[in-house]
Amino acid sequence: MTRALSNEEVRKSEHLIASTLKAGAYLSFALLVIGVGAMMTQPQSGLGISRIGIIALLAAPVLRILAAIVMYVKERDTKMILVSLWILAVIGLSAFAGIVTH
C-alpha cells in the first residue's frame, strides 16, 4: 500500500538519491584525477589509486539503489522495495557469475 505523499516529501526523498549520486561521482572523479596524475610520474601508485576510483564508481549505482530503498521504506511502497531487492539480487548474481566464469 502506498500512502499519498506531499510534493514536499517526494522532493526530499529524491534529494537523497541525487545526493548519493553526486557523492559517488565526486569521490570517483577526485580519485581518478589523482590516480591519473600519479600515473604520469609513479605508475604503480597511480594505478592503485585509479583502481580505487574505478571501484568507487562501480559502487555508486548500488548505493543509489540503497538510497531508493530508504525512500520506498519511508513511503511504505512494498512493491518498489521488492523491485529494488530484485535489482540488487540480479547484480549480486552477475558478480558471482563473473567470478565463476573467470
Binding site: M39, S50, L58, S94
Partner: protein, 266 residues
C-alpha cells in the same frame, strides 16, 4: 601490453573521455557507443576490454548527469527502477554470454548497432531542425509496461554485449510505447543506464576485463566532459550535435567493417 601508458596516450584517452562525456550531456547518447569502438579500433585494446571501459564510462555519464536530473525532478525514478528490473536481467545474461563470444562476433554485432544508431539519429536530427525547446514536462502516466519491459531486456542485453548505455532503445521505448514525454524519457534513460551498465560491469570486472590503466583516464575525461557539456548546453544547437553523432557513428561503423573484413579484429 605495456606496463604503463605514455603521457601522450593518457592525454588522448582523457580527450576521448571528455568528448564522449560532452556528447552524453548534449545529446543524451554517446558514452559507450563512441568510446568502445574508438578504443578497439585505434588504441589496440582487445574488444572485450574496450567494452569493459565503455561500461565504466556509461556508469560515469549516468551517475554525473542523473544526479542533476533527479534533483530537478525530471527523472521518473519509479518507472526507471521498474524498467531496471528488466534491463539488469538482460545485461547480466548478455555479459556472461559475451565472455564466450569471439571478438569478431562482437564486432559484427557492434557494426549493426552503430548502423542502427546512426540511422535513428539521422531521423532524430532531421526532425529537430526547426525544433523549439521543451520547457515544462506535462503530467503523464506511463502506459504499456509489457512493451517497455520487453524493450528494456533487449536494451540491457545490448549494454552487456557492447558496453553501451542502451539509450538508443530505451528512449524510443519510453517515448513511443509508454507515452512518456521526450525530456522525461531521456532523463529517465540516463538514470537507468548506470545501474544497467553496473550489472554487466561487475561480470567484466570479476572476469578481469576492466583495464584500469585505460579506464581511469577515459572516465576522468568523461566526468570533465559531462560537466563542460552541461554548462555549454544552452548555447549549442542540438541539431548540430546530432549530425556530428551521425557522422561519428557512421564513420566508425565503416572503419570497423573494414577491419573485420580484413581480419584485423582480435
Amino acid at each position: 601490453m605495456a606496463a604503463t601508458l605514455s603521457l601522450g596516450v593518457i592525454i588522448l584517452l582523457l580527450g576521448v573521455g571528455a568528448g564522449a562525456g560532452a556528447f552524453g550531456a548534449l545529446a543524451g547518447v554517446g558514452g559507450g557507443a563512441i568510446i568502445t569502438p574508438l578504443l578497439a579500433l585505434y588504441f589496440g585494446l582487445p574488444i572485450h576490454e574496450a567494452i569493459g571501459v565503455g561500461l565504466v564510462a556509461v556508469i560515469a555519464t549516468s551517475t554525473a548527469s542523473s544526479s542533476v536530473h533527479v534533483e530537478r525532478h525530471i527523472v521518473n525514478v519509479k518507472l526507471g527502477m521498474i524498467l531496471e528490473s528488466a534491463t539488469t536481467s538482460g545485461a547480466a545474461i548478455a555479459a556472461v554470454i559475451a565472455g564466450y563470444l569471439s571478438a569478431r562476433w562482437l564486432a559484427g554485432i557492434f557494426i549493426a548497432f552503430l548502423a542502427f544508431s546512426c540511422y535513428n539519429m539521422v531521423k532524430r536530427a532531421w526532425g529537430t531542425r526547426n525544433e523549439q525547446h521543451q520547457v515544462d514536462i506535462p503530467p503523464y502516466t506511463p502506459q504499456n509496461y509489457p512493451a517497455g519491459l520487453l524493450a528494456s531486456v533487449f536494451a540491457g542485453a545490448l549494454s552487456g554485449l557492447l558496453g553501451v548505455g542502451g539509450g538508443v532503445i530505451k528512449v524510443p521505448a519510453m517515448y513511443l510505447f509508454m507515452k512518456v514525454p521526450l525530456r522525461a524519457a531521456t532523463a529517465t534513460s540516463n538514470f537507468t543506464i548506470g545501474v544497467t551498465a553496473a550489472a554487466s560491469a561487475y561480470v567484466y570486472y570479476m572476469r578481469g576485463d576492466i583495464n584500469v590503466m585505460f579506464a581511469a583516464p577515459v572516465v576522468a575525461g568523461v566526468f570533465a566532459g559531462s560537466l563542460g557539456g552541461a554548462r555549454i548546453a544552452p548555447k549549442v544547437r542540438s541539431t548540430h550535435i546530432l549530425w556530428l553523432f551521425v557522422f561519428i557513428t557512421g564513420y566508425m561503423a565503416i572503419q570497423m567493417a573494414i577491419k573485420l573484413a580484413t581480419g584485423k579484429i582480435h
